[in-house]
């Protein structure tokens, strides 16, 4: 048996696993009619979905790209990541805890079934039920009645009438409306519950597109979508359909774009990163994405706790020349980080007090390190663990070298052969080094970058960071009904994070894409997925 690797890009793609994505469209940017042939079908790259096409069981890009095209939820996100009502008429709350949601009347799924309040409540209950084993069940954990320990109904959901339902959360969470564009919150038709497995193979939605008949999902090859004539929301398709072709490697997809067999591409293989903008002038993009990359230093590591730990963390952060690494190793396809979130998120700021700790300063780094040594002398090697199948070696080695040179300590990368192996060691806490961490936002909100990672006991708090002040501010932020007031609290959280540095911010990823000569109006959303509905094609 010959098993060789395709190359880093392919593995990174596969290993990126559940980097979750959501909403992918924009309403107002729609082009004027007649710019292209409205019956022309757009072809684009995708991945074979890892799971059946069920909204609550899809947490990776391959499936989300399809689901967000064939479903319309309460809201969708425009190119800037602002939520725009899709099916919702209004989402109202007085206390950030109880929400009244009204949806548009007379909406139907493509099989003729009505889309009403019940479609949402049933779908959410299905997604939350423990025994249904849905990958995205945790999106419902803040709704009253949710339980991880037993099957229990979401008692917080109540249907008022055909077009109205209320949601009661366990505690105030002001960013709940921002989440509603995520794939997990999509509605399901009644027929879905009769045979969910069959539905996952041939899903019936209510979005701008629909499957091109039964069996449109040709596994490992492609999925063909046609326009849903009944959709009348803000994402009306300006083209005749969408063929999503599944590629095993980014190289193959790129070759197809070069060869004219592909219209829109949203991933450029590593080997072409430095050349694609010249090859596709005016037809390529390199813009910030909602992806934050860092490495986490767990507090349980010796020398990284208390005052000594703070000094050492700050020293490490200041010893890294982010500018140099993003230029040399990533050819400008990463942007040095200025905070713990992402520039595409509303409320983002470059100048949070304390963010100076991210500026490169070798002398100060050495000084800080020496102060820490005065508390307890350093010994051993500083290691950063990473999965060797994800193309991380180059930057980890570069960071280690900078630490070596600027701090005068022994530093190195600690590779794990596979993504699964690295994640397992991180999840069961057997890892005894710092490790690579990344976060791709599920929905465009500051809280999504902070709460799940730095809250005490939070799901993805892999470094076991705990600071009561941070927890307090996160709760306060969630209780604010005004978004700006909430974001102010979250920025205060970041001020504390800059002092504690539970993770060392590195850079933000960018979306790199290109498109063919015959297509126009190509725009990439906040989540790096092209806004397919507005793409036009001439021919």
């Amino acid at each position: 048996m010959k098993i060789k690797r395709f190359g880093v890009a392919a593995i990174a793609l596969a290993a990126a696993g559940a980097l979750t994505l959501s909403g992918c469209t924009s309403g107002d940017a729609s082009p004027s009619a007649g710019a292209g042939d409205s019956s022309a079908v757009i072809t684009t790259n995708g991945n074979e979905p890892q799971n059946p096409l069920i909204p609550t069981n899809t947490n990776e890009v391959g499936g989300a790209k399809i689901l967000n095209s064939i479903f319309a939820g309460l809201v969708y996100y425009d190119a800037e990541g602002n939520p725009v009502n899709d099916l919702a008429e209004s989402i109202e709350t007085d206390d950030a805890q109880t929400y009244t949601i009204k949806i548009k009347p007379d909406q139907t799924f493509t099989n003729g079934e009505p889309v009403n309040a019940q479609s949402f409540v049933d779908a959410w209950n299905y997604g939350a039920l423990l025994s249904n084993e849905q990958l995205s069940s945790y999106f419902f954990e803040s709704i009253e009645g949710f339980s991880y320990d037993e099957d229990s109904e979401l008692t917080g959901l109540e249907v008022v009438d055909d077009t109205t339902f209320t949601v009661k959360l366990k505690q105030p969470e002001s960013d709940f409306p921002l989440r509603l564009g995520y794939t997990a919150y999509l509605p399901l038709p009644e027929s879905a519950f009769e045979d969910m497995a069959a539905f996952g193979e041939n899903p019936v939605g209510n979005g701008p597109y629909m499957l091109d008949g039964e069996g449109a999902w040709k596994h490992n090859e492609k999925i063909d979508l046609v326009v849903n004539p009944d959709y009348d929301g803000g994402r009306k398709a300006q083209n005749g359909g969408l063929d999503i072709i599944f590629y095993a490697t980014q190289e193959a997809a790129y070759a197809d774009l070069q060869g004219g067999n592909l219209d829109v591409l949203d991933a450029i293989p590593d080997g072409a990163l430095s050349t694609y903008e010249d090859e596709f002038p005016d037809r390529s993009v390199n813009q910030a994405a909602a992806i934050f990359q860092s490495f986490t230093i767990p507090a349980r590591l010796p020398h990284f706790d208390g005052e000594e730990g703070k000094l050492r963390r700050a020293a490490i952060s200041k010893a890294i020349n982010r500018e140099e690494i993003t230029d040399v190793i990533f050819a400008g396809t990463r942007t040095p980080a200025h905070d713990f979130t992402s520039p595409v998120i509303a409320g983002y700021s470059e100048d949070i007090p304390g963010s100076e700790v991210l500026d490169f300063d070798a002398d100060e780094a050495k000084e800080l390190w020496a102060q820490a040594d005065a508390i307890a002398p350093w010994d051993g090697t500083f290691q950063i663990a990473y999965n060797a199948d994800g193309g991380h070696q180059a930057w980890v080695d570069a960071v280690a070298n900078q630490l070596k040179n600027n701090l005068g300590i022994d530093a190195s990368g600690a590779p794990y052969p596979t993504f699964a192996e690295a994640r397992t060691a991180i999840t069961d806490r057997t890892i005894q080094t710092a490790f690579r961490t990344g976060w791709q936002a599920d929905y465009p909100a500051l809280f999504n970058f902070l709460g799940p990672i730095y809250g005490t006991g939070a799901g993805s708090n892999d470094g076991d960071y705990s600071n009561p002040e941070v927890d307090q501010l996160l709760d306060e932020g969630l209780a604010e009904t005004d978004l700006d007031a909430a974001n102010a609290k979250f920025q205060q959280v970041q001020e504390i994070l800059f002092q504690d540095l539970p993770a060392i911010p590195l850079w933000y990823a960018t979306v790199n894409g290109a498109w063919g000569e015959t297509v126009e109006n190509v725009e990439y959303g906040w989540d790096s997925v092209p806004l397919y509905h507005q793409v036009t094609k001439s021919e």
Binding site: T418, A420, T424, N461
Partner: protein, 309 residues
């Protein structure tokens, strides 16, 4: 003959059991939890992980998992992939594609390799022989992904003779380019093998006898020399066919061929045990059958070989 075939097929059973056990063990021993990896950089609640482990029997000890798998196989159930597709369906969709690709590649390398090898062998030391040697050495030393990328760039992107990647349904005309790429490596081997074998046969007594009997060269070459030179080549071709059936992973990836290699690779990356083991089981079967056919073919090529009961 029939007895021989039956005996060989019976031998296949322990081989099959042994290989599936080994493969299953290796997949099982692969470090890392595929369920955790399903969630990417995010950490799912432990209860959710537990539920999913149970569903895929990952919470059971290895030997129990293996027997569950074996039991299911005997019931014709090869399991389902994470995406909910029965593995048997994946097999049915991918194997024909890889089979067509492999047959095309074998055809190209056989026609080109044997003719070039034959001419080289008959005109040993000539200019044709020398150039064939140089070309085959170059091809042998090039890694396949280099050949694949270059071929894709020149013939797919620049000249536009072929589609850059294989389109939906893997139409045969799209498979020609990847098949040619696959054929290049073995072409060199077959050329060398045929040449050496032809040279060897050419000096045999029976060839001299045929010539002294006054048979024309046009009859000696195909009937006496070529036929007798083909035995090692056929063995090689069969082995190569087996390899192509199970492992054109790199080429399938570059040309996006929806075949066995690409699918198996993805399954390995995702840690989908059932898919991997089922694929490998079928591959082992193919390998065994192909080898049996080769052994039978010997008898056809060389009348001296007889299979006693």
């Amino acid at each position: 003959m029939a007895g021989y075939i039956v005996r060989r097929l019976l031998q296949a059973i322990p081989v099959l059991l042994g290989t599936t056990f080994l493969i299953y063990f290796m997949v099982f021993a692969m470090p890392g939890d595929p369920i955790v990896a399903l969630f990417g950089d995010k950490t799912p609640p432990p209860q959710v992980i537990e539920q999913l482990r149970e569903r895929y029997h990952l919470d059971q000890p290895f030997i129990v998992q293996y027997f569950i798998f074996l039991g299911n196989i005997f019931r014709g159930d090869l399991g389902t992939s994470f995406s909910g597709q029965p593995v048997s369906e994946i097999l049915a969709a991918t194997f024909p594609v890889t089979l067509r690709l492999a047959l095309l590649a074998i055809f190209f390398e056989m026609v080109a390799g044997i003719s070039v090898g034959l001419i080289s062998g008959l005109r040993k030391g000539g200019i044709f022989d020398a150039s064939a040697l140089v070309v085959s050495l170059i091809l042998i030393s090039l890694p396949i992904f280099v050949i694949a990328f270059v071929a894709q760039y020149i013939f797919g992107i620049q000249l536009g003779w072929f589609r850059t990647t294989v389109g939906s349904g893997a139409p045969t005309q799209d498979l020609i380019l990847p098949a040619l790429v696959l054929a290049t490596i073995s072409f060199a081997q077959i050329t060398r093998l045929t040449r050496a074998s032809v040279i060897d046969t050419d000096t045999q007594d029976f060839v001299r006898t045929a010539a002294s009997k006054g048979l024309p060269r046009t009859r000696i070459v195909p009937v006496h020399i070529l036929r007798n030179s083909l035995i090692p080549v056929v063995t090689y071709l069969a082995v190569d066919f087996g390899v192509l059936m199970v492992g054109a992973t790199v080429t399938e990836g570059i040309f996006n061929v929806p075949g066995v290699g690409r699918t198996l690779y993805q399954a390995i990356i995702r840690g989908e045990g059932p898919t991997v083991v089922s694929f490998v089981t079928v591959m082992v079967l193919i390998y065994l059958v192909v080898n049996l056919l080769v052994d039978l073919l010997y008898a056809v090529l060389d009348p001296r070989i007889r299979y006693a009961k």
